[in-house]
Amino acid sequence: MNKTLYFAAFLTVTAALVTAIAYLGYELTAPKIAENRDIKITNSIALLYSPDDGYTKNDDQPINFYQELDRKYSSVITGVYEVLDSDLEVHAIIYNVKAQGRNGLVNALIAIDPFNDTVVAVTYYEHGETPNIGEKYTREDEIDKLLGQTIPGVTVDVIAGASTTWIAIDEMFRMISTHYVDEEVHIDG
């Protein structure tokens, strides 16, 4: 058989085999990965709004503009969720955001009151920021400074020596503001 033909055949068979194995592996692991992510989100939201107080995450979120995030948001915003109170009324909008910090990704949940456009809760559920430096942002006093500020126009205080962490947090709020304004998340009432 012609050598080039043999090579082409060999490569095609290899490519097909590899794609098949990869597809198999993907099908087997993707559900677990999605499940992990959902559990993580629900747990983190529960930190802010405890189910014991009647709050739930709106799992039947209507397929509206903030289910399928546009690529321009998705580098920072990984999800937008509605939190319902015990009367099943919208209580808060939670932005699940991530940004590149000093030592890896900083993951945060930022809750916005859609009626007043204010920040009502912030929690950093995963980060690797330097203890006593970037990590200071995750403490009560720094978070308190953010609560009550209005979107857009949230200013984050700069802590000396923690400029990379500050850049990350500032980027999170900027992206949230962009999304909030462009997608008209505000609710009148």
């Binding site: 990869a22 993907y26 400029s163």
Partner: protein
């Protein structure tokens, strides 16, 4: 435009690919002991990363993801495998093209091209483009300036290493260890750029 400038500045200095993100270290240590070698490698890397960044972006969004050309399935899970093959093929084609169209350029950087296939920097930048969700323009800017950061650092470093070769260094520290320590000082300097933005 402002954002693109910030992106360019950040990828060149603040998030410098060698001194901050640690991609491309093997070639950095191996090739930086002579100025001419370093410049050749740096230019080759610039070409490859910029073009590879654009090509892999196009492949990801137009061939692997459901799009106008791909109405079948979502193949994005084949990302890593396809990217590395695309990069390898691209480097081969690039080498042949440069050999044919510009023999002077080929003599300057042709010998480094095959080495770049397994350089972490190329695959790293390609994957980062996707991870950060860049648009095409942003991809071009990011890839170009990241690789320019590589070129600048490796070229500067070659000066340092050439000077170090003439200095009295203990036997055990000659070569790579002293190179690494010099790189750490450079990294300190680059750390200062973080406050500029």
């Amino acid at each position: 435009m402002n954002e693109l400038l910030t992106l360019a500045f950040t990828s060149f200095l603040v998030q410098n690919i060698i001194l901050n993100q640690f991609l491309g270290i093997c070639s950095f240590l191996g090739v930086s002991n002579k100025r001419s070698k370093a410049l050749g490698m740096g230019l080759a890397v610039f070409f490859v990363i910029t073009i590879a960044g654009m090509v892999t972006w196009a492949v990801y969004y137009y061939i692997l993801s459901p799009s106008e050309f791909n109405n079948f399935t979502d193949l994005t899970f084949m990302r890593t495998i396809v990217f590395i093959l695309v990069i390898a093929a691209m480097v081969q084609i690039l080498e042949m093209a440069i050999k044919k169209f510009s023999p002077e350029l080929y003599s300057a950087l042709g010998v480094y091209l095959p080495l770049i296939t397994t350089n972490c920097a190329v695959l790293g930048v390609a994957l980062l483009n996707i991870q950060n969700g860049f648009t095409f323009t942003e991809t071009i800017v990011f890839s170009a300036f990241t690789s320019l950061g590589y070129t600048a650092v490796i070229f500067t470093f070659s000066y340092i290493r050439e000077a170090m070769n003439k200095a009295p260094i203990p036997e055990g520290f000659k070569g790579i260890p002293s190179g690494l320590i010099a790189a750490s000082i450079m990294a300190f300097i680059f750390k200062g750029f973080m406050g500029l933005i």
